[in-house]
């Protein structure tokens, strides 16, 4: 058992670290496929990555129901750390979550099980924060859509392997859909619901 | 040669200096103190606290002083300050039945348990300007008597015991109370949000809306079941203590309207309710609020909503005087970029109109 005092710290400078993390995430969301860096300003409980921890401290609070996958939920440190630093309520029902933290993408639930928003309020959807192996090596993905000047090339090592196939759901559902933030250590890439994959390399 | 207008920064500074000077007025006249405002312009303070959504007499008095007595400006100052305050949670519901009543009147029964208490009121004063008040007036000491220990149950509760009035709709146990200052408002809105909107709403707007229901635009046959003014205790349950901690007492005015009855195949006929509540002594506000609250319940009570006061999008979107004054007054800001675009269009349309007329005119002249 870890006591609160032994948990990794939150942001040393709450205001400025949250601002700089947000700008990285905002830039990532505005320019899908581009790799943005988060300046790590906080500790992170295993198996949470530094980037994930910074995003949690920046965007989560009492108003954001949070769903954790088994990998995250089995760590009492993660649960305690999130409760102590963000106050976000952890929910069992993924369809009401504002955010979902995915530690093990290989067993990512079907995307339909998350909140997809409604036609009137498509913003009421879950944002997936998916930890991946790498955002600078692995397969190539060619992406198009708003925020991208022509095409963007993303090189990444992602589980689930069929993530982009699954995200075809966004095409059919738009404006409803799922927005994804990929995290590898301090690197983030966002795949909002408007992004389309045109080709995949090896 | 033309030189573009500049130097706005200095103009702003100078304007603010002049404003401060005008605010103070003639400096040979003693400066107003916050106590004076709070004590002698108490109803202004009450209104600013209510519509500013912040119970703090001293800050409200400061806002009134800073706003040169412009109450909507003062309400705005208080709201802007309130928006920066941390939120610790919601208090326990206050029990207005246990109010230490200073004034309490009912128009539905001649006498009620605990009695009718006229209290401090303008009612039945003759509205004659009183020169004696102009200076150095010392009022007589108020009449006193043994404080009554009789309970003063709410008139609506008395009616409720016999089932003559609908039971007050209860929220689910543990349901959180909506807060339109923390969450964006969506329509249709539940009654908690409607009441919050009305409590913050402009007194003049609510007065006109309430009045319109009396004149037939969504008539709902109101009786002033009870209006009471006095102090109630506020309690707060902090998560870590687990029990209610008293925070202090606040002055409130509550109005319960008893309105036209309803009934259905499954429910016996009974009166319906309209509710008004405000900080301090604010009778006009709470009565208007109760009328409008009842009007806005049209949907829930299966009535046809045809009048403005029954239209929740209309009422709730226009009741807030801080929003309204901002947008009306923003017309003072420069719009010359848009105006230029309109001018261009208008000139083009006029030219086309003249050109189209011209051949006709020439034809007429030739005939």
């Amino acid at each position: 058992m870890t006591t609160i005092a032994e948990l990794p710290p939150g942001f040393a400078d709450k205001v400025l670290s949250a601002q700089s993390t947000f700008r990285s995430v905002m830039d990532a969301m505005a320019r899908p496929g581009s790799v943005q860096r988060i300046v790590p300003g906080a500790g992170a409980p295993e198996p949470m990555m530094r980037g994930t921890a910074a995003i949690a401290l920046t965007l989560f609070d009492h108003d954001t129901p949070l769903w954790l996958d088994a990998r995250m939920a089995e760590s009492t440190d993660v649960v305690k750390w999130l409760k102590f630093h963000t106050g976000a309520p952890v929910v069992q029902d993924s369809s009401i979550a504002s955010f979902a933290l995915i530690g093990d993408g290989a067993v990512l639930p079907a995307l339909e099980r998350f909140a997809l928003g409604t036609s009137e309020y498509p913003d009421r959807s879950t944002t997936l924060i998916l930890q991946v192996e790498s955002l600078d090596s692995g397969r190539f993905f060619e992406l198009r859509g708003p925020g991208i000047d022509g095409a963007a090339m993303l090189q990444a090592s992602i589980k689930p392997f069929d993530l982009f196939e699954r995200l075809h759901l966004n095409e059919a559902l738009f404006p409803r859909g799922i927005d994804v933030v990929l995290v590898a250590d301090d690197a983030v890439v966002a795949i909002p619901r408007t992004t389309r994959i045109v080709s995949k390399g090896s | 040669m033309y030189v573009a207008v500049k130097g706005g920064e200095r103009a702003i500074e100078n304007a603010h200096r002049l404003l401060a000077h005008k605010r103070r007025g003639d400096q040979s006249v003693p400066e107003l103190t916050l106590d004076q405002i709070s004590e002698q312009l108490g109803l202004s303070v009450d209104r600013v606290m209510s519509e500013g959504s912040l119970y703090d007499r001293e800050l409200a008095a400061l806002a009134i002083k800073q706003a040169r007595g412009d109450l909507i400006e003062a309400i705005f100052l208080v709201r802007a300050f309130r928006a920066t305050l941390p939120r610790f949670g919601a208090s326990e519901p206050v029990d207005t039945g246990a109010m230490r009543v200073q004034r309490r009147v009912s128009s539905t029964f001649k006498d009620i348990p605990g009695g009718q208490i006229l209290g401090p009121t303008f009612d039945y004063t003759h509205r004659l300007l009183d020169p004696a008040l102009a200076q150095g007036f010392v009022p007589d000491a108020p009449a006193t008597a043994e404080a009554s220990t009789a309970p003063t149950p709410r008139v609506t509760d008395i009616l409720g015991r016999d089932g003559l009035i609908e039971s007050s709709p209860q929220a689910e146990e543990g349901a959180s109370v909506g807060d339109l200052t923390r969450e964006p408002l969506n329509f249709p809105a539940d009654r908690d949000l409607r009441l919050q909107n009305l409590a913050r709403g402009d007194e003049g707007f609510l007065l006109a809306m309430g009045y319109s229901t009396q004149r037939g635009y969504g008539r709902n046959h109101p009786f002033a079941g009870e209006i009471r003014f006095g102090e109630v205790e506020v309690e707060f349950v902090a998560e870590d203590t687990g029990f209610a901690v008293p925070l202090g007492a606040i002055a409130l005015t509550e109005c319960q309207m008893v309105n036209q009855f309803k009934g259905s195949a499954t429910e016996g006929p009974c009166f319906t309710r309209g509710y008004g509540l405000a900080f301090g002594q604010s009778e006009r506000k709470t009565m208007s609020m109760a009328l409008v609250d009842r009007a806005l319940r049209a949907r829930e009570l299966g009535e046809e909503a045809l009048a403005p006061a029954q239209d929740e999008e209309f009422v709730m979107s226009h009741s807030d005087n801080v929003q309204a004054t901002g947008f009306v007054e923003h017309l003072k800001l420069p719009h010359y970029v848009d105006f230029q675009s309109e001018l261009g269009l208008l000139r083009k349309l006029r030219k086309e109109f003249t050109d189209a007329q011209a051949p006709d005119a020439m034809k007429e002249a030739a005939e």
Partner: protein
């Protein structure tokens, strides 16, 4: 009395988180209006509270802020907002478009092409493009949900039937990413083409109406029109009297009461830049002087 103490960029952190979440959803759904719990700001509703809240939520100490109103850095409201952020966030401010990382604007898009490192924040009075056709929020929301925009086309077509032209000169509706019809805020329609495929992120804040929306960079933005009545930007046909620019949006200045008028760039930074680079119009005061201008308003 509770003595006021304010956070970096004025807003408390909880409010910033709420606004930041709304901004991310707005970017993910281009042109869709995300409801947010707008706060009372220390300036009136209708005077830029939406833009100010968006700016306050994104601004950091590294940013360089530019604020314009009617294209000008020197209009009183622009000065007031710029001072507000200089005071509460201590950020550097500028009037030069190319130096700014965050530009807050009311009613104009700068003439200079924006770049990828910039965010343009619009102040929006009425975010709902369908509001004047249908006052009810419940109805307009349904129309957006179904992408049912026939009413808007009918309105524009009625204009043509009546006036021979689409009679909308500013706040001219656009369609974003071929899905949402969006109000570009009351910018003159001259500026509409600048929104299309813009390298900068565009964020829109409506404080009183409690909505945030966005156009991501490099996103298609099309002004609504008809094949036989294509969209045409309006500009008074004259060069700027100060810098001789032929393609900037112009303010009309009435110089006397006998019909005298002149036309100068509404984007003052653009105009000054051109004058400094040696471009002179028919009425320019050459060499360009700061001092003389202050005197006219002191």
């Amino acid at each position: 009395m509770n003595a006021p103490a304010y956070n970096f960029a004025y807003l408390d952190e909880q409010t910033k988180r709420m606004i930041r979440r709304a901004i991310l959803k707005a970017i993910a759904i281009p042109g869709y209006q995300v409801p947010f719990a707008s706060r009372e700001m220390p300036m009136p509703y209708g005077w830029g509270t939406g833009g100010v809240q968006v700016t306050a939520a994104i601004l950091g100490p590294q940013d360089v802020l530019k604020v314009i109103d009617q294209g000008s850095d020197d209009t009183t409201n622009a000065i007031s907002i710029r001072k507000f952020f200089a005071k509460t966030a201590g950020v550097a401010t500028t009037t030069a478009t190319e130096e700014a990382t965050v530009i807050q604007t009311r009613h104009r898009i700068p003439e200079a092409t924006l770049n990828e490192n910039q965010v343009l924040v619009y102040q929006v009075p009425i975010p709902e493009p369908l509001r004047f056709l249908e006052p009810r929020e419940t109805e307009t929301r349904r129309m957006h949900a179904l992408a049912e925009y026939g009413l808007m086309h009918v309105k524009l077509y009625e204009d043509i039937a009546r006036f021979g032209h689409i009679a909308t000169a500013y706040a001219y509706p656009v369609k974003v990413n071929a899905r949402y019809v969006m109000d570009p805020s009351p910018t003159p329609k001259f500026d509409n083409p600048k929104m299309d495929n813009c390298p900068a992120l565009q964020l829109f804040g409506a404080g009183r109406e409690k909505r945030i929306y966005a156009i991501p960079p490099y996103t298609q933005v099309v002004s609504l029109d008809f094949e036989d009545h294509p969209f045409e930007p309006y500009r008074f046909n004259a060069p700027c009297a100060l810098c001789a620019a032929e393609n900037s949006y112009l303010d009309e200045i009435v110089t006397d009461d006998k019909g005298g008028r002149m036309f100068v760039c509404s984007d003052t930074d653009y105009c000054e830049g051109r004058q400094a680079a040696g471009h002179h119009g028919s009425l320019s005061a050459a060499p360009y002087k700061e001092k003389a201008q202050e005197a006219s308003n002191g």
